[in-house]
Amino acid sequence: MESTHPIVEVTPRAEQQLYRGSKQLYSESIEENLQSLFQRLPDPNLVTEEFIIGSRSKTKVVIAYLQDVANTGIVDEIKDRLNKIKAEVILDTSYVERNIQDSILSPFPQVEIVSKVNITLTALTQGRVAIFVDCCPEIIIAPTTFFDLLDTPEDAYRRWFVASSFFRIARFISFIIATLLPSFYIALTSFNPELIPSMLTLTITAAREGTPFPIYLEAFILMGVAEIVRMVMIRMPNTTGLAISIFAGITLVLTGLVTNIISGPIIIIVGLTIIASFTIPGFDLRSSIRILQFFTMLMATLFGLFGLAVSFFYILVHLSTLKTFGIPYMAPLGPIELSGWGHTIFRKTSVDMPQDETYKPQKK
């Protein structure tokens, strides 16, 4: 493909705030997107293969990978799954995604949806495959592990690796808070208050005096309200949506507190949970976490700390059995591959972009 001047426009689509790194986004033309890719990575090993998918729409789908780095088994599997797509129309990358992923029932995304060229380059050098769909401003990166989804470009661009590692770990902790905090609160306060420090128990009891609902109902109502406010924020036009959601949120919380319908501690818990969930970079993963929150809350409501532990086991059982194009979803933590920790769990200090062995061809 010929390399010409960049013709890809940089459109501000505020999905993530970026402090460093290229802001170049993909356009809706597959030719332009591939052109910008070849411009940034003029490597003879960069290979593209074209597919026509959709019996009616005849949509052009192109896969790109570095043939000296990518695992041939994974590439062949992706090609095979693309060839098997029977859809009539391909309107978006999501149509391809749901047809090629390993588990459609899983709440966890098994491919990464990317709109920036620089992220694609990193993925290709890791040995992953980029899938371009015509008329879509996002591309698919496959395979994708859990840790890829919690990765942000700044982790690689930040000057000091210690800060990057710190913020990564903080993100994992936020993930755990977002999934388990409300259920932990319900379990402790409703079933095992003896495990809470006595001063804190007294504070919670005092704050809850006169409130009509049991703790679990308070938690469910407030989490539900938070979801409604969040949906308003997304659906309404930018400034209006923001103003309405902030106004609605503050009014509801204040009125609830003043009229003693809800207690203070649950507002702290729900607030912390919602904030923590926004630290998760991917939209799809974030949405799944919200559903998992309700699942863990339900288990904690029914069976207390034991139910919480069991729901945690269920989530982990699912994560340990899930694979993405043959790669274990929790690699490099399960199975432990220490060589991959430098750019997944931590960020190691190195002049080059840290690499791992997760997606590379394996030694026979």
Binding site: N71, T72, G73, I74, D76, E77, F191, N192, E194, L195, I196, P197, S198, M199, L200, F303, G304, L305, F306, G307, A309, V310, F313, Y314, L316, V317, H318, L319, S320, T321, F325, G326, I327, P328, M330, L333, G334, P335, I336, E337, P361, Q362
Partner: protein
């Protein structure tokens, strides 16, 4: 040439994962809440029994590894017919199935009891058991490698609270609780050491690892490190319990380790009740042990009787072992049965595999002739 994903992305276990596998598979209620019977027999010299028992366990592990290395591509149930002959091998296999089945029933029973003591007082016993069993069955249907992945993922949540608990309790030890040493002679210590070795139920998993390992020759060191860590952990917890509670109090308590945690006080620290630190790893240890034992039992039956409906066997085995709880009338009976099971464990973990190794060497079976 087109390669399938299975040919290209191999699902093998790195031998370096073995220490974690052993830690989480072997630790469950008894060893975790500190082996009660060892205390009853060896008294305040239980720490000596643990040291001596640790040597027995390490020796036993060495022989298990030798046996595994002779048959690197097969598991124990696959190669015993070559060594013992088909009829005896079948009897041995049935013995193991009974051993694992009864162990599972004991584990389920204990899950229910612990749950009643610590979490859900009024909930019917079968509910927590089924909740745990659903997770275990789900994991086991995917085979052995996902179980190992589960162990690796959950290991930080398991290890960090245990290490914290040890660090918090270390300063509370009173040395006088250990004296006089060997007041009742060496015999109780020796008996305690044998019982201690019997508590390592799950050690036989080594004999089933080899087909999944990326390199069986590299399994020696990590396995011995794993057993060393496990012995150290058991020794530290036994020492802590005696050092903090004293042998008299320990023998009167059903859950000495939890009693030990309740006495911790840290001035200025917001948390007061540290039992929670131990309940998390306890549940994890139990869940993993149940999953691994259910795997050994179901896949053993599938393999020996060449059954094609794998999932059905797993469901049926889980159900039978759960329903067998009805045969356990009360907790006192449970403790008695658990004691007998510990003696049986010595036969199934050490005696039978070592006899198999001896016979394999004599009959020149296996790769290392």
């Amino acid at each position: 040439m087109t390669m399938t994903i299975k040919e290209n992305v191999k699902d093998k276990i790195d031998p370096r994962a073995i220490p974690l596998i052993l830690l989480l598979t072997i630790i469950e209620f008894e060893l975790f809440t500190v082996a009660r019977k060892v205390f009853l027999i060896a008294g305040r010299d239980s720490w000596l029994a643990a040291l001596l028992g640790g040597i027995f366990v390490t020796l036993g592990t060495y022989f298990l590894l030798r046996l595994m290395n002779r048959f690197p591509k097969q598991n124990f149930l696959q190669y015993i017919p070559q060594i013992w002959g088909k009829p005896i091998a079948l009897i041995i296999a049935l013995g193991y199935f009974l051993f694992w089945g009864s162990f599972l029933t004991l584990l389920f029973k204990n899950t229910a009891e612990v749950n009643q003591v610590f979490f859900l007082e009024k909930t019917p016993l079968l509910i927590p058991i089924f909740l745990i069993a659903i997770g275990a069955v789900w994991l086991v249907t995917y085979g052995f490698v996902p179980i190992i992945r589960f162990i690796q993922i959950i290991s930080p949540v398991f290890l960090i609270p245990i290490l914290l608990a040890i660090l918090l309790t270390l300063s509370e030890i009173e040395i006088r609780n250990f004296f006089p040493i060997l007041a009742n002679g060496i015999t109780p210590v020796l008996k305690g050491a044998v019982i201690y070795a019997g508590y390592f139920q799950g050690l036989e998993v080594i004999l089933f690892l080899s087909p999944f390992l990326a390199d069986t020759n590299k399994a020696f060191k990590p396995t011995l490190i794993g057993i060393g860590l496990l012995n150290m952990l058991a020794f530290v917890s036994i020492t802590l319990v005696i050092g903090i509670l004293g042998i008299k109090n320990t023998n009167e308590m059903l859950w000495p380790a939890f009693a030990m945690m309740s006495i911790i006080e840290i001035p200025g620290f917001p948390a007061e009740r540290f039992e929670l630190l131990l309940t998390v790893p306890l549940l994890i240890g139990v869940f993993v042990t149940i999953s691994v034992t259910l795997y050994l039992l179901s896949y053993g039956i599938i393999q020996v009787f060449k059954i094609s409906h794998k999932k059905t066997v797993i469901y049926v085995m889980a159900l039978i072992t759960i329903l067998a709880i009805m045969l356990v009338p009360d907790f006192a009976w449970y403790i008695k049965f658990r004691g007998i099971h510990t003696y049986a464990a010595i036969i199934f973990i050490y005696f039978l595999p070592i006899s198999t190794l001896t016979l394999a060497v004599l009959r020149k079976k296996g790769e290392y002739l």
